[in-house]
């Protein structure tokens, strides 16, 4: 379809944009509500059927920016950025290595290990959280970022390994051969051939890893004690406590503020997604 010459004709173009815009309106409606709610007085937010506030207020943002318990909101954002950046680095690096082994190398036990890896996807978080907590508690690592990051550097998120395996299996085998003739070892093949061609997969993984880390509530909840180390989702929850007065305005305002870094990260990396094989000069 991509190359269909008729697509360039203007009726098609108009149709395309009309379709995309209609979809866009549908998809964005709830987000606009959120943006509107961030400027709506707290008491009017729950069940608000209006899309945008009739008289917008700024004090939700003022309260959100005050932070909490003497900790500025920037600190929570900074913690989230730190966690997300290391998560991305660790996840992409370790998953790429594991994926290369699963996708391109043959060795004893490979299939069994692959099945085990897929099996780990099925384990519900809440059933293993206590044993995992015990491990890190015994190691004295609770209330550090290690429990949140160590697994990321050890490819424990099978999703990412599997994602990259699926992409690497698509790459033509002759590339390996050509590289071998040029004198490359396995590392060389991985580094000079597979890794560059897998950049779309890496970019995709990076974006997902960033967002999941950004929105993760339960692991930080369990492992972090010191409020100065809290990432943004933990701070957000503090505005809606069922035993005391909730401040939904400040909460929504803070979640809007918290969206900014993710959006920036996405915009920075989304270009990687489209760099398929066509743009890397292969076959295209």
């Amino acid at each position: 379809m991509t190359s269909s010459p008729r697509l360039a004709a203007w009726p098609r173009r108009v149709l395309w944009h009309a379709l995309a815009l209609a979809l866009l309106g549908l998809i964005m409606y709830p987000l606009v509500w959120v943006a509107g709610a961030s400027a709506t007085p707290t008491n009017d937010i729950v069940g608000n059927t209006q899309l945008l506030p009739s008289r917008p207020v700024a004090d939700n943002f003022a309260r959100a920016l005050e932070g909490m318990a003497g900790i500025p909101v920037w600190r929570f954002l900074g913690n989230s950025v730190l966690l997300a950046v290391f998560t991305v680095a660790g996840t992409v690096a370790s998953s790429a290595l594991a994926a290369y082994a699963f996708a391109r190398l043959r060795f004893r036990g490979r299939n069994a290990m692959f099945v085990l890896m897929i099996g780990t996807l099925l384990m519900p978080f809440h059933a293993v959280i206590i044993p995992q907590y015990i491990i890190f508690q015994q190691l004295g690592l609770v209330d550090t970022y290690v429990p949140l990051l160590l697994g990321k550097f050890l490819a424990t998120e099978a999703f990412f390994v599997f994602l990259m395996v699926q992409f690497m299996r698509q790459l033509p085998r002759e590339l390996d051969q050509a590289a071998r003739i040029d004198g490359c070892g396995y590392w060389g093949i991985f580094w000079h051939v597979i890794a560059p061609l897998s950049r779309p997969a890496f970019g995709t993984a990076a974006i997902f890893a960033f967002i999941w880390s950004w929105n993760d509530l339960f692991a930080p909840l369990i492992y972090l004690n010191t409020p100065e180390k809290f990432p943004i989702p933990l701070a957000l929850r503090m505005y809606a406590d069922q035993t005391s007065t909730s401040d939904f305005g400040a909460m929504i305002a803070m979640s809007v503020i918290a969206l900014v870094p993710v959006v920036l990260f996405f915009l920075a990396f989304q270009r990687l997604l489209v760099q398929g094989m066509a743009t890397t000069g292969l076959k295209g």
């Binding site: 206590i130 909840l221 933990l234 406590d241 007065t245």
Partner: protein, 421 residues
């Protein structure tokens, strides 16, 4: 970032870097041998700020003790706490809910604070709260604040509708008549009341008025299946007539309660929740005595939250001092105002310069004091789960998905399983 990594060795180096980063990142309060107390509590952002001030004051007073606070909101607090207990990472001092007290104390994870009397003075507790937190003669918790179950209502709407006004000794029939009148007068905007058969505490009040209790002294269910079915059935007529907030409308405004969302003109709740409802609702709200058919109010002073300490704390003395400070020091009360509920000790009650709403709560409690009955012992382990189950089954009944009999049967089975284990 992909380019910079590679090879197991180099990713190991990256891990080591993170380790180092995390290690240096925690500006530790562990000085030379001074005890460090971890203090965990639930609450909102406002409480976080007030707690910081109170802790700073405590550290000023006790320079030898460092307090590290940690907090989360109520729902997630319990997952975190139970994981910490299971994994051996329990905080030294922690906020405790009466419903969960025995869950923890029965399993021996809480410290008996009686043994630390020299550091913790409980003599200032209000009479009705003096035994709160005591289980089988051991003090596993100290109440921070107290509250009593009450009715919050909008007097104006009641008056306009010509409904019977709440007064001492008014009956459940009076109340039903009043809420029906309000609903008719307003046409359901707002309804006269929220469906009060969704709260286990209304059931408790009724049981107590009848001379029974939610739980027996032996920790079993204090009422039969039939009584529960009758309780759910009792509001069936109100539901049919549209006199109380329908279940689907109540569901829609969650996480607010119907009263806070301007859906209803009265609701049973703990009196300290008035603060929240006044802020949320557009109506002018006041506290009223509970209806009763026997003349007994059934009301009692309940700890709204307790402070407990870990049995494994390495600094029980320092933990006791912190608890003492939080419940007795008048300056702490000044800092918190009504945020923790109305304080449990006389000294703290008097120290607060109450807001208008908080003053109304204090007045209410003082007014009711003569009618207040002795508090029941701490509910048995499993009470928290029972309350959750009660809410679920009430919803089933309110949505018409289950008959009161069916739901009562299921509740009895659940209680049998939960309370025996």
């Amino acid at each position: 970032m992909v380019q910079r990594t590679g090879g197991a060795a180099r990713s190991a180096a990256a891990v080591a870097m993170v380790l180092g980063l995390a290690a240096t990142g925690c500006g530790g309060g562990e000085g030379s041998g001074s005890p460090e107390i971890r203090y965990s509590w639930w609450g909102n952002a406002e409480r976080a700020e007030l707690m910081r001030e109170a802790i700073a004051l405590f550290e000023e007073e006790h320079p030898d003790i460092a307090v590290t606070p940690t907090f989360s909101e109520y729902d997630t607090y319990w997952e975190k706490l139970s994981t910490q207990v299971a994994g051996g990472g329990m905080p030294d001092v922690l906020q405790m809910d009466n419903a969960y007290l025995r869950e923890y104390s029965d399993r021996g994870v809480l410290l008996d604070l009686e043994a630390h009397e020299q550091n913790l003075d409980t003599s200032g507790l209000l009479e009705g709260l003096s035994t709160a937190g005591v289980v089988d003669g051991a003090r596993y918790g100290v109440p921070v604040g107290g509250n009593t179950f009450s009715l919050v209502y909008a007097p104006e709407l009641f008056e306009e509708a010509g409904a019977p006004m709440p007064e001492d000794g008014w009956t459940w029939e009076d109340y039903d008549e009043a809420l029906t009148a309000v609903s008719e007068h307003t046409g359901g905007d707002p309804y006269g009341a929220s469906d009060y058969t969704g709260l286990i505490w209304v059931l408790e009040a009724k049981l107590r008025q009848e001379g029974d209790a939610l739980f027996t002294d032996g920790g079993k269910l204090g009422f039969g299946e039939d009584r529960l079915a009758e309780f759910w059935e009792s509001a069936a007529g109100l539901r049919e007539d549209g006199a109380v907030v329908p279940a689907d409308e109540a569901e829609q405004v969650k996480p607010l309660a119907p009263l806070g969302a301007n859906l209803s003109a009265s609701e049973f709740t703990w009196d300290n929740m008035l603060t929240r409802y006044v802020e949320e609702s557009d109506l002018d709200l006041e506290l009223a005595p509970l209806p009763t058919d026997s003349g007994d109010s059934g009301q009692y002073l309940k700890p709204s939250m307790l402070l407990s300490a870990s049995a494994q704390t390495s600094n029980p003395g320092a933990a006791a001092k912190l608890v003492d400070f939080m419940i007795n020091d008048p300056r702490v009360a000044e800092i918190f105002g009504g945020n923790r509920g109305i304080p449990a000790t006389e000294a703290q009650r008097e120290a607060i310069d109450y807001t208008e709403v908080d003053q109304a709560i204090v007045d209410y409690e003082e007014d009711r004091m003569s009618d207040l009955q002795e508090a029941p012992p701490a509910p048995p382990a499993g009470a928290g789960a029972l309350e959750t189950e009660f809410i679920r089954l009430s919803e089933e009944v309110h949505h018409g998905q289950m008959s009161p009999d069916e739901a009562a049967g299921e509740f009895a089975d659940f209680a049998e399983r939960t309370l025996s284990s």
